[in-house]
């Protein structure tokens, strides 16, 4: 009798646990997803992908949160410090992501990438930005380079036939545009990172890969000649007063508004610029046919190759508390079809093989090619280095724009921070 009841008991346990496992497979899960696309077409695309995935996986609910860039950074910092990352969220990879990875806030997806050849669908350089110490924490959706977006009509109006290819030609063109009564350059230096591109690109052109590698490995220093010269060149430009009125307090949104409405001639910006120009313009069309693009000009006597690129991209990483389904969804939005859809609305310069064809904008094709062929691809400094150093770079370059710091002082401040943070 006793034996019988024991067997019954065991069978019962098996049955119950079996039911639970079956339930678990279909248990409802909720995935939180934070992205930074606020333009209508882009928001709609992300929502559509989420809806499609939810339709195919009825047990999955995806909560999509669209945040403006600066607001996203603030909100993300808060939840990260409290140890509760969203399940899938925007990342630029590099230094900031590494801090999160070190703190154990990110989910290691290396094993998933190695399954079914998912890894091989990405271009390796772009994927590498989202790895730290050999582990992958996310995947890219976009990779491109910073360059000059310009208004061809305004250039023609000032009588400039070809975009400049050297730094001194750029300075001359700035003067010509000014003389024609056109604001030569839009910059949102209140946000700091748009201006930092200038100093960083000058350092890339003047010092090449060797200068940054030396400084970053701590064998050299950010007070080395190329970084100081970058500051001096930048101040040559600032002395011409080429920016819109109030640029020191302006945001990236203000910058895109000026460009989108055709009120400034050029803008040093990444691959997301055309979309933002359109979204911030009055007619929501942006520059359209008037848009042109040229790479950052060569600096006379610089060690860098003119084909070297400063850039980076966008991607998504997975938070440590995410359910497994989050990885499945990440894979879904990284598919070739999704990438083509992103490319078609100029949201992403694709990083998944076979999606390049989705790019319809000829300028973005140039950007994509440029980034792909660059021998030396420098990630933006504020992503390549720890957040503290990146922030110090941005703050001090603003000082160069304002003329309150000398190139030496700015370089010294950056070096001090690097000495403390990079070990």
């Amino acid at each position: 009798m006793k034996k019988y009841s024991l067997v019954l008991f065991l069978v019962g346990i098996l049955l119950v646990s079996g039911v639970f496992t079956a339930l678990a497979a279909e248990a409802p899960v909720t995935i939180t997803w934070w992205h930074i696309q606020t333009a209508e077409a882009e928001k709609v695309l992300w929502q559509r992908l989420a809806d499609e995935y939810m339709a195919a996986h009825p047990n999955v609910t995806i909560e999509v949160l669209s945040l403006e860039n600066e607001n996203f950074k603030t909100k993300l910092t808060t939840v990260m410090l409290s140890g509760e990352p969203p399940d899938i969220f925007q990342s630029w990879g590099g230094g900031v992501m590494n801090e999160y990875a070190k703190a154990g806030l990110l989910f290691d997806i290396t094993a998933y990438l190695d399954r079914d050849g998912w890894r091989d669908t990405f271009s390796p350089g772009a994927l590498g930005v989202y790895s730290f110490e050999g582990k992958n924490y996310g995947v890219p959706r976009d990779m491109g380079m910073v360059g000059f977006w310009y208004n061809k009509d305004l250039f023609a109006q000032a009588g400039i036939d070809n975009p400049p290819t050297t730094w001194s030609a750029l300075l001359e063109d700035v003067q010509i545009l000014k003389d024609a009564g056109i604001t030569p350059i839009a910059v949102g230096e209140g946000d700091k990172w748009p201006g930092a591109f200038w100093w960083e690109y000058l350092a890339v052109r003047i010092g090449g890969q060797a200068a940054f590698d030396a400084a970053y490995s701590r064998e050299g220093s950010f007070t080395d000649a190329p970084f100081i010269e970058a500051g001096e060149k930048l101040q040559e430009l600032v002395a011409l007063k080429p920016f819109q009125s109030g640029f020191l307090g302006a945001t990236w949104g203000d910058e895109a508004t000026l460009m989108g409405n055709g009120e400034a001639a050029m803008d040093l910006m990444g691959q997301w610029a055309p979309g933002a120009f359109a979204d911030n313009s009055i007619d929501k069309l942006g520059l359209g046919e008037k848009a042109g693009w040229f790479p950052f000009p060569a600096v006379e006597g610089g060690a860098g190759d003119p084909a070297d690129a400063l850039g980076g991209g966008n991607g998504f990483v997975i938070g440590i508390n995410a359910p497994q389904e989050a990885v499945g969804f990440l894979k879904y939005i990284s598919s070739v079809d999704s990438q083509i859809a992103q490319a078609e609305i100029n949201l992403s310069v694709p990083v998944v093989k076979g999606a390049e064809g989705g790019l319809t904008d000829p300028l973005l094709k140039i950007v994509q090619q440029g980034a792909a062929v660059a021998q030396y691809f420098q990630l933006y400094y504020d992503q390549a280095m720890p957040p503290a150093v990146g922030s110090v770079v941005n703050d001090n370059v603003q000082g160069l724009f304002a003329g309150t710091l000398t190139p030496e002082q700015a370089a010294q401040a950056i070096e001090d921070s690097a000495a403390q943070e990079i070990k």
Binding site: S245, G246, G249, V392
Partner: protein, 313 residues
């Protein structure tokens, strides 16, 4: 009558029951204080002590703090010229508030406190900015200050006046702090005005009537009767204004992030930048402690030197 009988009751009670009742009263007090005390401890006292602890570390905010560096954070704060500039900017806001904002509030209170036509209307619109959230205020003024006359209302008006040009109010290191002070004044004068109005209502009309019979003029009435009689209100308002000015954050962060190049940096924006942009939470905690100490020293000194009179009277 009734009171007497209760007293008699109490006197007739045995000694033991009386002390028991006193104990019961104390228990009641403790019981009623407890919820507030718990929240105060969890959300205020405990975090302050955590901050003191973290301020002794080089800590990025993730995981436990392990890199003990003693008082180095404090040493760094006191030698950082940007922090000193933030303190100077903060003091400037304090001085300007006391010199401009409060007198303005008092003047308006005297105006709308009198039998002015439509004073209820004025009282409402003067108080309205105070009700808006700081973030909304910041964004609104950001648009008003837009350097482009096509988008910014203030510059649009300016360019209508011959000989004047549009100014990048928030984009110029020389004007940014004043531009922010204008917003602070706009937002907070209504609050101080309301304090003064309450004070004015407490002045017994007999005193003013007596003064009128004695033949004082309007100016004498204000300087010798009104202001001295609302002295304690003024002292409260000064106290709140100074502490508020030392801690202003959201407006400045929204409008300028302390820039351009630290021109509108105050202690709170400095603290925020280090804590949440640079992930130097140990250092940020140390800045918070310094802020706390400055506010605390001011509070204690002010209570002792200035407001003591209010409690004694």
């Amino acid at each position: 009558m009734k009171k007497n009988s209760v007293d008699q009751d109490v006197q007739t009670l045995p000694q033991k029951t009386r002390s028991a009742r006193r104990l019961q009263d104390r228990m009641t007090i403790v019981l009623f204080l407890l919820p507030a005390l718990i929240f105060f401890s969890i959300f205020l006292v405990y975090p302050v002590f955590r901050s003191v602890y973290y301020s002794l570390f080089s800590w990025k905010g993730f995981g436990p703090a392990v890199d003990f560096i003693g008082l180095n954070n404090f040493k760094r704060i006191l030698t950082d010229w940007i922090f000193l500039k933030a303190v100077r900017n903060g003091l400037l806001i304090v001085v300007l508030s006391l010199a401009i904002q409060l007198p303005l509030s008092l003047a308006l209170a005297l105006m709308v406190g009198r039998n002015l036509r439509g004073r209820a209307f004025f009282r409402t619109i003067f108080f309205m900015p105070y009700v808006l959230s700081e973030v909304i205020t910041g964004i609104m003024w950001l648009i008003l200050y837009n350097p482009d006359p096509k988008r910014g209302f203030i510059n649009a008006i300016l360019t209508l006046i011959p000989g004047l040009k549009a100014q990048p109010w928030l984009g110029d290191t020389r004007t940014v702090l004043l531009a922010i002070f204008v917003v602070l004044t706009w937002k907070y004068f209504g609050f101080h005005m309301l304090l003064y109005l309450a004070g004015l209502q407490n002045i017994p009309p007999e005193i003013e009537e007596a003064a009128l019979i004695d033949g004082v003029n309007k100016r004498q009435m204000i300087t010798y009767i009104t202001i001295p009689l609302i002295g304690s209100t003024i002292r409260t308002s000064v106290y709140l204004s100074v502490l508020g000015s030392l801690q202003v954050f959201a407006l400045i962060w929204i409008m300028t992030k302390g820039g351009p190049v630290n021109a509108s940096e105050v202690m709170s924006t400095y603290m925020y930048r280090f804590s949440f942009v640079r992930f130097e939470l140990g250092y940020g905690s140390a800045v918070a402690i310094v802020m706390l100490l400055i506010s605390l020293v001011f509070s204690l000194a002010y209570l002792r030197l200035v407001r003591q009179a209010d409690y004694l009277s």
